[in-house]
């Protein structure tokens, strides 16, 4: 139970961010559903955001450390906004793919092969 009295640091946030990032990468690599790949992209972006917020927070650092402060939070803000924009376009592409190929399976998108 001493686990619950260890103060949280940047490293712990980086661990969570790393797990999310790796899960996103595996999701992008293995999912056959196009929307599954999109979900992997969202996980990757959130892992990166967690890193930014962790570096931006002064309460997670040891005394005398320099936190990014406002810069980190604003970068994370822009990442959230851009992720929303990119998800909209990616979803439009996915819908076009579904309407034209009558399947959402990305393994079937092989018309340019060979």
């Amino acid at each position: 139970m001493e686990l619950l009295s260890i103060p949280v640091g940047v490293a712990h946030y980086l661990v969570v961010g790393a797990v999310l990032f790796v899960c996103g990468v595996i999701c992008m690599a293995t999912k056959r559903n196009g929307l599954g790949v999109l979900m992997g992209i969202e996980l990757v972006l959130n892992g990166a955001n967690l890193n930014f917020v962790a570096f931006a927070s002064p309460m997670l650092r040891a005394e005398g450390g320099n936190a990014l402060g406002l810069d980190g939070q604003i970068i994370a803000l822009f990442v959230i906004v851009l992720a929303a924009a990119e998800a909209a376009v990616a979803l439009a592409i996915a819908m076009n793919y579904y309407n034209n190929f009558v399947t959402i399976d990305v393994d079937r998108a092989d018309e340019l092969k060979g």
Partner: protein, 217 residues
């Protein structure tokens, strides 16, 4: 061994972190697309909680409103529109899983090793740990920074450094234009048009189903 004090910050961090990580793993493991969307929602909600715990309250609320309440709703709509029969559960072959696990595992190992390599990143020592979480207000400074004023660097004495510390006004405008472009582009891409499957003649009602009575249905 009894515990005298629990740092509630650590307790809630562990709760949210476990939730985020297990739900992210669940997204990878499950093959049902609708459940994937649900687990992703919970995972990103836990990430918003982690933002709140790091003192970024405005960012946490932004994550909830825009990411979870906007982007994921869009994704859920897409999932609902394409969740037909065979597409709900699609399995991947074993070979791909093994390859992805190797790559993912090695990446995770590298990132974990980096995370614990810097001394200053392991957090404050117990003696310095404040009893309560003090959170500076962030909404005002973020708003000012987006308009070009950097309220956290007002005391920078070096004139040369000050000139390089403009706010984020240009980036803000660029992103606004970018969003307009994305809006127009996505609306154009997603416009309704005749699908190739509808070019065939409209389906005739089968004669066995047609009722002999002239009563309208």
């Amino acid at each position: 061994m009894s515990v005298e004090t629990i740092h509630w910050h650590t307790f809630f961090f562990l709760l949210m972190a476990l939730l985020a990580c297990t739900m992210a793993v669940a997204v990878v493991v499950t093959s049902n697309i609708v459940r994937m969307a649900f687990y992703l929602v919970v995972s990103l909600g836990a990430v918003a909680g982690l933002f709140f715990l790091a003192g970024a309250d405005f960012l946490g609320a932004m994550q909830l409103m825009i990411y979870v309440g906007g982007t994921l709703v869009l994704l859920a709509f897409g999932v609902m529109l394409t969740a037909r029969g065979p597409f709900i559960s699609m399995r991947t072959g074993g070979g791909q899983w093994i390859l992805a696990a190797i790559i993912g595992g090695s990446l995770l190992a590298v990132l974990l090793q980096v995370a614990f390599s810097v001394k200053a990143w392991t957090g404050r020592s117990l003696a310095q740990h404040p009893p309560a979480i003090e959170a500076a207000p962030t909404a005002g400074p973020i708003g000012l920074a987006l308009l070009g004023v950097r309220p956290d660097r007002l005391d920078q004495q070096n004139a040369g450094l000050r000139r390089g510390m403009s706010g984020y006004l240009l980036v803000f405008e660029i992103i606004s234009v970018h969003l307009v472009v994305v809006l127009v582009g996505a609306a154009y891409l997603a416009r309704a048009r005749k699908r190739p499957g509808q070019q065939r003649a409209p389906a005739q009602p089968s004669p066995s189903r047609r009722s002999p009575l002239p009563v309208g249905e």
